[in-house]
Amino acid sequence: MRFEWFIAIRYLREGKAQTALVLGGTTVGVAVLIFLTALISGLQRSLVGQTLSAQAHVLVKAPERVARPLPGPDRPADHVEKVPDRIRSIEQWQRVLAVLPAIPGVVAATPTAAGAAFATRGPATKAVTLRGIEPESFSRVIDIVPRMRSGRFALEGAEAIIGSVLASDLGVVVGDKVRLATPEGRGDVFTIAGIFDLGNKEVNARWVFVPLRSAQTLLDVPGGVTTIEVKVAEIFDAERVAREISRRHGLAADSWMELNQQLLIGLRSQSASSWMIQGLVVLAVALGIASVLGVSVIQKSREIGILKATGTSTGMVQRIFLLEGALVGAAGSVLGAGVGSAMAIAFAGLARAPTGEPLFPVDLTPGLYLGAAAVAIVTGTLAAWFPASRAARLEPAEVIRYG
């Protein structure tokens, strides 16, 4: 065993009350770190997950047309007004769709043709959003298949997939027929192939999926699509991907982050306050370790002098106390990981939905434990720096004589 380890471990073992004190402080600190991080990242993951359950990470649309002045002396008018919103197709969308996967971060893309429509069954009529899709590529962008209540997520011919709320509003089940018509009067009858529940009441009440070709006909955009929906590998990378798409293809591309600014601000300030609390906790732990080790160095002054008189070098003395700090950090992170995990699991257990399911998961990942351990060990070592340097500087002759 290395000499420094031998001495440091013995000092920690024998300094019972002091060791218990710093170990207790470090354990609590690490526990708070683990608990807060697990809770907040679990909570945020669940919030973002809910938001993105029915939303693509990036929405690509045809560029907005804006009012612009007309140049030239012989002009028929001052400026061109913005064209009243009409469903517009993305130009050359097949080509765009083909090259999108080449953009780094893009995982999948699917074309949709969307517009307003009415769903009618008998006397009941509901305003809906008609979404013409290719089910196979769509399910790669939005994970809808596991959230089918009944039927299947596939469309053949005149079939439609509707949300659970709309299904109960209209009183339909899989196999029933429903008439879908646009405000312009184009309409057709579709058979319900499946009913989904995306965990969002608005979506469940309004979305109606039909085959892309049917939607193109109903919305009068033959061969066109209104949006391309994109899934990215890393959700917080969506903004960059959106800008990249916009830059390369001259299209309007909005990330989920832009479309959910409020949520994002909320998440960011939550993270910031959590970081601040954790920073203060780490600081408190560091001060605790530094002061207890500082006292221990003063108490041990004479012993340190003896160690130096009997061949222990200045560097060794310094390493002994740095090691004490690091060991406290390491032991504290093991104990704190246990306490913090127990707290997180217990807390998540308290917050349950009426169905008995936990409202949100706690994110207890190996990375979190490693990170907390690294923070604790580095904090312990840094906190020990001042006491250790003080110990190393002690002059043996003086401390032996005067203590």
Partner: protein, 236 residues
């Protein structure tokens, strides 16, 4: 290497000042002193005469303000702090008045510490070497006792064993019997003497006890930072 009977330690014009400016005081005022290999000498003097300071300087625990220290032929002025620590570890042993054993460790571990510090590691053979040294001072039975549970005489014996751990050329003892009763003091003194004879280790004892001093080979007296007398005792 010093020849048998040659100088193992030589001090040349050692001065030591403490404090600065007005408060500056000169504790050692030019000390010249040689110790021969195998010598058993006593350093005496009234309180405040500079005995402990001189001992610390000889022991490389403190640096002189002026002068030169030749230890086993090596000019120690050229060594840096780590060099001094290493040289101190391998050449010098210390016995202090209040034994100064490390309370967290057993008697055996206290004896091992200089060996482990010297090598930077704790190794199994060190245990055997330490046990042999404890045997040498008659304490093998208490090898695994906590330092804090030893009596004064026992602790001082452990301290003597520790001072011998690295096979030193010189052992410097600062009032090694100062806080022991007369009988225990005599036993500890006898042990020092025995080690000196058997192992040819040079001893320098700082003591107030003239009775003990007269049983050494030589008495050096220090007053106000100067050597005022240095004479050889008649062989006993």
């Amino acid at each position: 290497m010093a020849e048998a009977g040659g100088d193992v330690l030589r001090l040349e014009g050692i001065t030591r000042d403490f404090g600065a400016g007005e408060a500056r005081t000169r504790v050692l005022r030019g000390v010249d002193l040689s110790l021969r290999r195998g010598e058993f000498a006593a350093l005496m003097g009234p309180s405040g005469s500079g005995k402990s300071t001189l001992l610390h300087i000889m022991g490389l625990l403190d640096r002189p303000t002026g002068g030169r220290i030749l230890l086993d032929g090596q000019d120690t002025g050229v060594l840096d702090d780590d060099g001094l620590t290493r040289y101190r570890g391998s050449t010098l042993g210390f016995v202090f008045q209040f034994h100064h054993l490390l309370p967290e460790f057993t008697a055996l571990e206290n004896v091992m510490i200089p060996m482990a510090a010297g090598k930077g590691r704790v190794e199994a053979p060190m245990r055997d070497a330490a046990r042999a040294l404890l045997d040498r001072v008659g304490l093998s039975a208490r090898a695994d006792a906590r330092a804090t549970t030893l009596s004064g005489g026992q602790a001082q014996r452990v301290a003597i064993a520790r001072s011998l751990a690295m096979g030193p050329k010189i052992v410097l003892a600062d009032e090694p019997t100062g806080n022991l009763d007369t009988q225990t003091a005599d036993e500890v003194f006898a042990l020092l003497r025995e080690v000196n004879r058997d192992e040819q280790v040079t001893f320098l004892l700082v003591t107030h006890d003239r009775r003990l001093a007269e049983r050494t080979d030589r008495i050096i007296e220090l007053v106000d930072g100067r050597i005022v007398s240095d004479h050889t005792n008649p062989p006993r």
